[in-house]
Amino acid sequence: MTKKKDVLLKIRNLKIQGYSNESWIDIIKGVDLTLHRGEVMGLIGESGAGKSTIGAACMGYARDGTRIVDSVIEFDGMELTTATEAERRALRGSRIAYVAQSAAASFNPAHKIIDQHTEAPLQYRLKKRLEAQEDAMMLYERLRLPNPKEIGFRYPHQVSGGQLQRAMTAMAMSCRPDLIIFDEPTTALDVTTQIEVLAAIRDIVDQFNTAAIYITHDLAVVAQMADTIKVLLKGEEVEEATTREMLEHPKEDYTKSLWAVRSFESPQRHRPKDGVPLISVRNVDAAYTGGAKVLDDVSFDIYEGMTVAVVGESGSGKSTTARVITGLLPPSKGEVLFKGKPFPADYRDRTKDQLRQCQMIYQMADTALNPKVRISEIIGRPAAFYSGLKGVALKNRVDELLDLIELEPALYYNRYPPELSGGQKQRIGIARALAANPTFIVCDEVTSALDQLVAEGILRLLDRLQNEMNLAYMFITHDLATVRSIADEVVVMQHGKVIEQGPKDEMFQPPHHPYTDLLLSSVPEMDPDWLTTLLEERGIDNVGDAASARIATDDPRVSGTGA
């Protein structure tokens, strides 16, 4: 593979300002970037680092409420900052294309996929409609979408997330651009789906010698995709180097801290010899009103003071299981036992003391906290409701809870959720759950929406609280790295069934159920050759959804599973 080494995109002193509180403040503070033809550059950093803003700026596009000032953005010899809007628009879609984070939200629900695909080629009069459609089908085939001849004629909601993401990559390719901006294209996907999309993107970028800017917060992913990596922090460049050099010899402390983030590992606890499980899910079937069965004969135990991680892809029934345990969704069959005694199926039939035992922490702290209510009230309400505290006693309890989650009570007592950062909001969510004095907490993807450094802080906090208060956690996640760091036992779910369960140390050792094996092998590693090696070992047809669909049900490892 030879890559032409002329400069395609040259950005000098990029400054972007955002309008907030009636003044313009700098979001991007003078970033330089040089990209050659056919080169893939990874932009990484935490949320708020300005990765996506830079990505949009590469197209000469400033999002609503932002503006580009005093910068040089030169694309193939053309200065974008001084070009007219029409000139800039003529580049978009034709020579610079964009692949967004959530394909599900970025495809227009009102039009067929292929009509959106052919929009740009037709707009630029590059192809006739039928030619463009045929080209689309060819790209769908190259991206290994099922039924490439037919899938484009569906509406976006009729296609799965991973397929949509590939269809969006195909759409970006529709005019054979010189440059594609990938803005977190796999962040919203399951690991087994992600690997397929990654392979497809890498393949097609190679084939057409397209230059790309790959934006992500996941180092292991960027290691597979990029030739060079640029690390960003709060709108400024930290360092830039080739992928290998960056992984092996990071120079700056910040980069090193990003690299070291998965160092936390809680020592594994084991079940007591002859104890009664705190929560016992017994042969539970469940379905949403009028729908098909979502849970099928689910059974597992959670012991006091232990963490059970429930892993599986989206739609595998993880959150539904949590809803059954908390009583939000009474099961259609089976039961939930609490300390060996049946727990009423509907939360409305539970006593206050029973309700107190099970609390929840949610994925999106943003939407789980009422933005118009003060922190003191958010935490104080469950404390008052369950313990009947009032006045000074209540205030003391709230202070104590804020202390527990490592937030200074005096500073946070009277504030509102929108004033807090994502990690702080999640801490408030934890305090709210603790306010009830529970013995068991359901943590539903509590770290998925957070940056890695922040997520690690939350995991450490949860671990500390567990040791201090002997809490049991049901930890729902699709992130196996999180499982490694915090779980004591693991339950793997697929299609509403528990397919494998056991202590963590055993679960990370072969032999596995083929699905567990697939799940484990799909988690990207920091080695830049990981994806290449994996594809060589397994073949392109043996990764992702394709592989999971082919797991034979009569496989001896499938039938002989369970704890």
Binding site: D64, A97, P109, A110, A120, H157
Partner: protein, 318 residues
């Protein structure tokens, strides 16, 4: 498609139930009006004997429930009884009036709906520009002025000063269609001015509301020109709220025309209602109210169905 038919059938059933409830309310509201109808009809010449006779003749001696059921039985087949003032069949009197009102409403709607949606798209495209503000102020001014005031202003300019259109919309059966349109232009225009602002602003708001969506940004980043972003990418997803506001305004065109009909002496159902109320012609009042209620329910039903049909998720299930 089976799902959609089911949804529509459910809405239709719900509409019928609401109509039934409303018929109860209308009937007993009229019952609650003070005074005795038989007394009112006979006036000064009432003697106890002929009062009793008239009551019996009108069925007033029977319990309210029985009278309601009798009335309902008639109403189902459009027999609303006879006017107690003229003695003519209520259905006959009203049907002609109602047809006139429908004509005027349709005339206004044919102008107002396209104009306000096109205007809404244009102001969404040129949002926060001078054009946006002028269009907003102009339509808001027209919606904030009472209809009779707007009507008289239009009469002053269009018929008194410039002599372009007649001030009085009197109809006769031998008029040509063009003549008809000419005669009823001013009342229709008044109605158009009254309803345009609401629909235009809703169209604008529904579109602008969608402009922050990722798929709109995607369209922009594909190099789609601004007008196409609005018309092709935002508008198809904005239909549901727009359709609802259009339906509400269409209902208003039929049920809210009383003032306009009085100003332009237009022989519509609104005037018939006003006359009937002042003459205590209660069968006519009840019939008009029921027609108005049915109009509202029917149009809202149409809006619901329209919203369902414009939702691709329901139109093309997985």
């Amino acid at each position: 498609m089976g799902d959609i038919l089911g949804l529509v059938a459910k809405r239709l059933g719900l509409g019928l139930i609401i109509l039934l409830v409303i018929s109860v309310i209308i009937f007993f509201m009229v019952e609650l009006l003070p005074g005795d109808i038989a007394q009112a009809v006979l006036g000064q010449g009432a003697t106890p004997e002929n009062l009793a006779a008239l009551r019996k003749e009108m069925g007033l001696d029977q319990p309210a429930i029985i009278r309601y059921l009798n009335w309902l039985r008639g109403a189902v087949v459009f027999d609303f009884g006879n006017s107690i003032v003229t003695g003519a069949s209520v259905a006959d009197t009203i049907s002609e009036r109602f047809a006139n009102t429908l004509f005027l409403a349709a005339y206004a709607a044919v102008i107002a709906v396209p104009v306000s949606i096109v205007l809404g798209v244009l102001v969404a495209l040129a949002r926060n520009s001078i054009f946006d503000r002028v269009a907003n102020v102009a339509t808001l001014t027209s919606i904030s002025s009472p209809e009779f005031f707007l009507g008289y202003i239009l009469i002053l300019y269009f018929s008194v000063k410039w002599g372009m259109f007649p001030a009085i919309a009197s109809l006769s059966s031998d008029m040509s269609f063009g003549e008809l349109l000419n005669r009823t232009f001013l009342p229709a225009l008044t109605l158009v001015l009254v309803v345009t602002a609401h629909m235009m602003r809703m169209t604008r708001a529904a579109i602008i509301n969608l402009l922050a969506s990722p798929y709109i940004e995607m369209a922009r980043l594909k190099g789609t020109p601004p007008w196409k972003v609005i018309v092709k990418h935002a508008l198809p997803n904005a239909w549901a709220p727009i359709i609802n506001v259009v339906a509400l305004n269409l209902a208003y065109l039929i049920t809210g025309v009383v003032l306009v009909e009085v100003v332009f002496v237009y022989p519509g159902i609104g005037q018939a209602l006003v006359d009937a109320v002042s003459k205590r012609d209660f069968p006519v009042v009840q019939a008009c109210c029921l027609i108005f209620a049915a109009t509202f329910i029917l149009l809202n039903l149409a809006a619901d169905v329209g919203s369902i049909l414009t939702n691709p998720r329901l139109r093309h299930p997985k």
